[in-house]
Symmetry: C2
Subunit: 206 residues, 2 copies
């Protein structure tokens, strides 16, 4: 089986899941933590070398405060959970805004945890515009330069769009959409994406 | 019906269509001209205000010369066909390379033809890296700044990837894939995409 070197994860549908389960929207985010750990462990076992996980964007922070606090808390907890694994964690996002959680500041350069291994990139208070309008153009023309090209993007929640997810790294990525909401995550969703991925060629425009 | 203001067209599958019809790959491109005119006319009738059409990329020009000459010729002819319509045409691509067709140089600023109206952007010798690594950063941080945000991208030929298509304009675009090859274009493909598009919301990350 051809395993993608780098998978992008768009864990969408937390709010819709909450509403359809008679909860307020903000209650959906905490239900995304166990899926996050499961997806990490499953990808690690499959031999995926790098994962990029869409946490929250600068645009998302304009949502009602209860939601903003809930998804920020869930993202910080998600990072804490992965810190306990064999991983090399990088947090990418606009640290110059109050919306960036101070607890994650030390991870804006990649840190190795336990035996290291799988590279995990969390997008936290990320914005495609912030990414591309880099101030330090002598280094790179985009801010997320420590994140490599993505082979396969899997989006939960049924939407067929990138929603500003890493435009530079996604230019050649194959895009697979799971209709189930992220809190309903199952390893079989990744199996489905990988089965489909087997039938895709890699031409990079050549 | 909610009509997207701006549709991106990725007309893929010309070579596969040629091979499956017992032709050499280069023969597929000329079969994309009538589909291009049909798609333009159909979108214009529907009230779509802007179309961006993926012509060829700088990477594509590394293909065998017979293919390169064939797709360059097809793209120039496609522009000539749309010049006869009511359209406002812009060609976006790296003019600093020999691969850029000289005949299209006058269209690198937008030109109005006949009564004008529908804005049509052709990507010719385009490259996402060229787009983002703009030299003239005082004006914009990307070279394709005269092309607006895209609402809906339709890709023919079955692949579910952007292949470097306008990363900035595509960040929030809904992405619809038609399995048929581009030479097999039918207006109904656009109907299918629009029917699906009706069920998509527009949140722009909010």
């Amino acid at each position: 089986m051809r395993i993608p070197r780098h998978i992008g994860i768009i864990p969408d549908g937390n709010r819709r899941w909450a509403v359809s389960n008679s909860m307020t929207k903000d209650k959906g985010y905490a239900k995304g933590l166990m899926p996050g750990l499961s997806a990490f462990k499953y990808c690690q076992r499959l031999g995926v070398e790098e994962l990029s996980i869409y946490g929250f964007t600068a645009d998302n922070t304009k949502r009602p405060a209860a939601q903003r606090l809930a998804f920020t808390k869930a993202c910080v907890e998600m990072v804490d959970i992965i810190r306990k694994e064999d991983a090399e964690i990088l947090v990418v996002g606009n640290t110059g805004s109050d919306m960036f959680p101070r607890e994650l500041m030390d991870l804006t350069t990649r840190q190795k945890f336990n035996k290291g291994g799988t590279r995990v990139n969390f997008l936290i208070n990320y914005s495609w515009e912030w990414d591309l309008k880099t101030q330090n153009k002598s280094v790179s023309y985009y801010n997320s330069a420590d994140i490599s090209r993505i082979d396969l993007i899997i989006r939960w929640g049924g939407m067929r769009r990138l929603s500003g997810f890493l435009p530079v790294q996604s230019v050649y990525a194959d895009f697979y959409v799971v209709d189930a909401m992220w809190p309903e995550y199952k390893d079989e969703h990744i199996d489905m994406a990988l089965n489909w991925y087997q039938s895709q060629d890699v031409t990079l425009g050549g």
